[in-house]
């Protein structure tokens, strides 16, 4: 038998990412997410076949898509910490010689690029379907849209993991309620507090916001939101002591 040793955080992250990736594609959740990713394409197709202006069709597609981009991380990452406790598998992980935060980083490393790739494909196709046969589409708009997608999805992932670590009983439900009700409500507040909204910043980065075009400010806001929620998750996972038999 080979002897063990201390495992660095980076190394543990890659091991857990491989483990998560394998489990992701053996589970059913990824197929549900794949079906969700087809919705923007469907909306763009239906909108394009009506008499709507391409920019309006694209705006509507992006608007609905934004919700889905928040929903996917909630499905796959909100329970990142909680599922280990529910299944009691944390007992295998926590007793091994690696830092606990690697469980979060490993899961994000496996899930987020997969979701981004899936939704980038769907998003790009929806963009060209929105503008089919019309002038005015340019690569810049698509790049802004994809940047909004990636940053928004990464931030939504951090929010979901943070919330899931705080409320481990119902992580997915709490994350969906937060992102689809509270976050949207915050985005509608007409003062600077709306910068705390993931969806508001995504719309600004995409270039589809009517008044604000402060892309850099929106990117910084998303990074700050991500950092805060990730710090919450790392703090919680470091301190968490879940009782299995009391």
């Amino acid at each position: 038998m080979a002897s063990g040793g201390i495992v660095s955080g980076a190394k543990a992250t890659t091991i857990i990412a491989r483990l998560t990736f394998k489990r992701l594609f053996r589970g059913k959740g990824i197929w549900f997410t794949f079906a969700l990713s087809l919705l923007p394409i469907l909306i763009a197709t239906l909108g394009g076949s009506s008499t709507g202006e391409p920019k309006e069709v694209w705006g509507a597609t992006f608007g609905i898509g934004v919700w889905l981009y928040c929903l996917a991380p909630a499905i796959h990452l909100a329970g990142a910490v909680a599922e280990e406790f529910d299944d009691k598998t944390f007992t295998y992980l926590w007793s091994r010689p690696f830092p606990r935060w690697s469980v979060i980083s490993g899961k994000v490393l496996a899930v987020l690029p997969t979701l981004c790739a899936l939704f980038t494909l769907s998003f790009t196709l929806a963009f060209y379907l929105s503008y089919r046969g019309a002038t005015g589409a340019n690569t810049g708009m698509l790049v802004h849209g994809i940047a909004a997608l990636w940053l928004g999805m990464a931030t939504a992932a951090c929010v979901c993991i943070g919330l899931g670590s705080l409320v481990p009983k119902f992580p997915m439900a709490i994350s969906i309620i937060y992102l689809l009700i509270i976050d949207i409500a915050i985005s509608a507040i007409p003062v600077a507090i709306n910068k705390a909204s993931v969806i508001y910043n995504m719309v600004v980065i995409s270039g589809l916001h009517e008044r604000s075009h402060d892309t850099v400010g929106a990117i910084i806001s998303l990074l700050c939101i991500s950092a805060v929620w990730m710090a919450v998750a790392v703090w919680r996972i470091g301190r968490a002591e879940y009782q299995t038999d009391k």
Partner: protein
Amino acid sequence: MSAPAIATQACSKWYGQVLGISDLTWSVTEGVVGLLGPNGAGKSTLMKLMTGLIRPSRGTIQIYGEPPHKSAGARRRIGYCPEHEGVYNDLTALEFVTFMAELSGVPGAKSRDAAAEAMAQMGMTKAQDRRLKGFSKGMRQRTKLASTIVHDPDVIVLDEPLTGVDPLARMAITDMIREFGKSGRIVVVSSHVLHEIEALTSEITLIHRGQILAEGNIYGIRSLIDKHPHRIEVECDRPRDLGSRLSATDHVQRLTFTDDKVVVETRDPDSCYDLIADVVLESDIVVQSLHSPDNNLSAVFEYLTSGRQI
């Protein structure tokens, strides 16, 4: 002098208002040690403290001089097999053990071989490529044990490893635990069943309500347990005749009668059982049932803790 493998010093753990363990000072330096106590005694809490899953509320716990909840160096030396059956059901047994090997610091290139070797040691080679979802309790237990030893730990912590497993698996696991002990590793194994522990080791620690009642050689503890007044209930057609014959002996301390039953309290249960058999045969008494309400660990613990303020 080197630090003991496991050492707790005035260690306490509360779960809110619920006591896990209380002011526990204990150490293990070698061999197989059985942690024995009824359900809820604090065995699992102590094991979780040993493996760094939880922190002490007060006092210290150290593995080779380092606190396991803080030190990856301490956790590197531990192999832990939890009581529950939770595993990653969508993985095959070999994948699961391989991942656990990697997470325990076995280099990637060697991890699969180490996992296969551990599975072979558990007699699981044939089933190692099947998903864990379809495994029986015994197969899961062996897979969990393989993941416990895959990184060749110095200290092996096994929480109720024999609970719910079939007799064949039980025998295999018992042999394996003895082998671990012979190979120079330190093994801490918990159970609430005395004879399970007796089959594994002669060194035991009795734990009850979060405190250590007794520790050391099982024969010493056995004699302590044997001092416990032992009740034998005999349901028969002539309880008073039986009682009068038994009362003439030294080891019978008290007799209690009901219409069809006599309860004998004795300090020498073996002799008392022999005597009852003799009297029944000689006097032609018809016995409907015979049992001992004290023939379980909880009763022994109640006796050992009577008069103690815990």
